[in-house]
């Protein structure tokens, strides 16, 4: 099995290297290396979006958690539609703002739009959380998978460094375009393999045993049911929730945290560096909400049922190997490829954004094209080195830090909504909300709890108190503070620059929501969907199809009632995203923006980049040779 696994992983690596080489050869200008000439094809956006969403969930973790908690955890797969919804709300407007202002990253856009250096710093912190701990966690999981499946023939450390080196070589040769090609191709592969293994396991391994027996949960976890709307527990680490942690509030708030993927610096960068086509709408509706969510909702339980029956992921792989070695290797390749997407995407985008936002702006301003490419390559080397070191020597630390990433990312939602739609959201409002929301996130996640309790005293709550995810804990005070403060500061000094962007939006792409009734219907339906699919209404799914209220009898639908509920609301969710993205024109770019605007016309010495000539001279010496 070892040689077969290595062979297939090498084939995938050679494929990546080929894509990187051909895209490296086609790079016309050195700065194209950093942003792909802002002309990534629509298919990259379409496939990469779905793959990044799956990779951000961590596919192997998802399957293991699904086998542990049963269908209550499958609510997370329904929550993927939230990624599509948030992307539909923001992606097109961010792209437009980027083209109108010639700013290439979300950090630059938010920094200039709100005139805030604090926001820039927050974005950089968030970027590093995605780029290093999050990618390190994914890489560490890939290493563990290879180690376990080869029975120690390839130790995890070797696997981690080999995968990191292969991905680094692809990125350093192909630049952002090569990385994006590789990520999109891997995403397509992951989607194909996920569907393949759903079918193969369902028809060959378990003969669709899941549909009859459900997922065999243990340890007091309710089998294939949501344990309640909310549980009044002190949280993980303090009290054991009865019947499982995944209440409807846990599912809903976790889904909100998934929205953080769509407004993460890397995902936004991917959108901003794309060509203007219909890729946004197609990717959001059919690939993220349709294929990615659907594959997880339908295939996840089949695989999880077999994993639960075997007791572990390794036992399931061994069972596949007893049927066919190559199929077992394929399953490992699926999980490793999903992790590779996360590593390649977050490390690659992180290095590019870092070059644009940090190196070009503050460390060595005014770099020529050749130096920019060199700086990007150095950043890539540093990032991949840090990721591999963290994955090898501090996987626990990486996991603890990365638990903050999505929850902190979604705290940017008020700021991004302000930039895209709501011009009266002010800098003070956004900053107040971010601070409050960030504190709530930190103190409801392992990082803040461990840090506080080691330094001071034990807190009375654990992780995710009241079975509400940290993203939910953060978003509620964040929105409240942001809206309240914005109400009083909406006409502040920086209002002019905010108006400038929104006026430009109106000129180039006016929002066409149709008549007020249609607009109300769209958003009411979205909220209703959220209530029944993820919110408290989802609890009805436990018995809705097996014990219908009006029938007064018990029926046997053949599959758990909750799964039917989830599939039903997946269909409705895809329809809603389609309605908003296509009919509501939220994701369709009708015409290109014709004029440019300057968000920061007045020179403020506080925001001017600091020149550091000694670093420039040093770089010049190295690149000049």
């Amino acid at each position: 099995m070892t040689s077969l696994l290595v062979s297939i992983l090498v084939i995938v690596a050679v494929f990546g290297l080929y894509l990187a080489t051909i895209s490296g050869r086609h790079t016309q200008q050195a700065s194209d290396f950093v942003d792909g000439g802002q002309s990534l094809p629509p298919w990259v956006i379409i496939f990469a979006g779905a793959g990044i969403t799956l990779a951000s969930l961590s596919l192997s973790d998802h399957l293991v958690l699904l086998s542990t908690f049963g269908l209550q955890y499958n609510q997370v797969a329904v929550g993927i539609i939230c990624v599509a919804l948030v992307a539909a709300l923001t992606q097109k407007r961010l792209w437009l703002a980027s083209r109108l202002t010639s700013l290439r990253t979300l950090g630059d856009l938010l920094g200039d739009y709100f005139g805030s250096t604090t926001l820039r710093i927050f974005m950089l912190v968030l970027l590093f959380l995605f780029t290093i701990p999050f990618a390190a966690m994914a890489l560490s999981q890939a290493g563990e998978l290879v180690d376990a499946s080869t029975a120690g023939d390839i130790p995890s450390g070797l696997a981690i460094w080999a995968i990191a080196f292969a991905l680094f070589v692809c990125s350093v040769i192909g630049g952002w375009r090569g990385t994006a090609y590789f990520v999109a191709a891997q995403s397509l592969l992951v989607l194909a393999l996920l569907l393949f293994f759903g079918g193969f396991t369902g028809f060959t391994v378990g003969k669709l045993a899941f549909t009859a027996g459900g997922i065999a949960t243990t340890g007091g976890v309710l089998p294939d049911m949501i344990p309640g709307v909310i549980q009044f527990t002190a949280g993980i680490g303090k009290e054991l929730p009865i019947g499982g942690i995944w209440t409807t509030f846990a599912g809903l708030t976790f889904a909100l945290s998934l929205g953080g993927i769509a407004i993460s610096p890397g995902f936004s960068f991917l959108g901003m560096t794309s060509k203007p086509h219909r890729g946004f709408a197609f990717g959001q509706v059919w690939m993220i909400a349709g294929v990615a969510a659907g594959a997880l909702i339908l295939v996840g339980p089949i695989l999880a049922g077999e994993i639960a029956a075997g007791g572990s992921l390794t036992a399931f792989t061994a069972r596949l190997a007893s049927l066919d070695q190559m199929v077992a290797v394929g399953f490992i390749v699926l999980l490793v490829a999903a992790s590779q997407i996360a590593v390649a995407f977050f490390a690659g985008s992180g290095a590019s954004i870092c070059t644009v936002e940090l190196t070009s702006r503050y460390i060595v301003p005014g770099m020529d094209q050749r130096t920019t490419r060199f700086a990007a390559r150095v950043t890539l080397a540093l990032v991949y080195g840090a990721v591999a070191i963290a994955a090898s020597y501090a996987p626990l630390g990486a996991t603890i830090f990365s638990s903050l990433t999505l929850s902190l990312s979604v705290q940017l939602l008020p700021a991004v909504l302000g930039l895209c739609w709501v011009r009266w959201i002010s800098r003070s409002g956004v900053l107040t909300g971010l601070i409050v929301g960030g504190l709530f996130v930190v103190f409801t996640e392992s990082f803040g709890l461990a840090l506080f309790e080691r330094l001071f005293i034990d807190l009375p709550w654990g992780r995710w108190p009241l079975s509400v995810h940290s993203a939910g804990w953060g978003l509620i005070p964040n929105f409240a503070a942001c809206l309240l403060v914005s109400l009083f500061t909406r006409s502040g000094a920086e209002r002019d620059r905010r108006d400038r962007l929104h006026d430009a939006f109106e000129k180039s792409q006016p929002a066409r929501n149709g008549n007020p009734a249609a607009t109300t219907a769209k958003w009411s339906l979205t909220l209703l969907w959220a209530f029944f699919a993820l919110g408290p209404g989802a609890i009805l799914g436990n018995k809705f199809f097996s014990e219908p209220i009006f029938a007064g009898t018990v029926v046997a639908p053949g599959v758990p009632s909750l799964l039917i509920w989830q599939v039903l609301f997946w269909f409705v969710g895809v329809f809603i995203v389609w309605w908003l993205a296509y009919q509501g024109r939220l994701s369709v770019i009708d015409q290109l923006p014709r004029h440019q605007i300057n968000l920061v016309p007045d020179v403020n010495p506080l925001f001017e980049p600091t020149t550091t000539p000694w670093i420039a001279r040093l770089l010049d010496r190295v690149t000049g040779r």
């Binding site: 894509l19 895209s23 298919w43 191709a185 194909a192």
Partner: protein
């Protein structure tokens, strides 16, 4: 058909490669399992996935407004021909393979060939599709007329 720019040619090529990677690996797993415990249904499923890859390639061509490039045509014909020759040789030499897998493999190869011919007829018409492979006429005329090539420009 408007010729593609360098970036678009690259985009199309990368997409084609991605489609075939996503099709080839599951197909390989199905063929491997089909030759082992799985049998005919899995071998036929393997061919179905290859055909899905072909359909994806045709869709990519339609999206970018191109046809198959000469290299793609050549590679496809070589792989198909090599597979067919290998199948015939193994069927003649190895009795077990012929006994267990002759029918599904024959059906698979015939279907694949039929789908390709069907595509060519739909795309170019019967006459032009035939002329694309009319090597004897090409030899007679001395040099190949590019206007009769089935591979569209990129």
């Amino acid at each position: 058909m408007t010729p593609l720019g360098p970036n678009e040619t690259l985009d199309r090529h990368a997409l084609v490669m991605a489609c075939w990677l996503a099709a080839a690996l599951p197909a390989a797993f199905l063929f491997d399992y089909g030759f082992g415990q799985g049998g005919a249904p899995y071998l036929l499923s393997g061919f179905a996935i290859i055909l899905a890859g072909f359909v994806a390639h045709v869709i990519v061509n339609a999206v970018y407004g191109t046809g198959f490039s000469p290299r793609e045509l050549g590679l496809g014909l070589i792989i198909y021909g090599f597979g067919l020759v290998l199948f015939v040789a193994l069927s003649l030499v190895g009795a077990p393979l012929a006994a267990h897998n002759f029918m599904p493999l024959s059906v698979g190869f015939i279907t694949t060939g039929a789908v390709v011919i069907f595509y060519l007829i739909i795309r170019y018409g019967a006459r032009q599709a035939f002329e694309g492979f009319d090597a004897i006429r090409d030899f007679r005329s001395g040099d190949r007329d590019p206007a009769r090539s089935t591979g569209g420009s990129e």
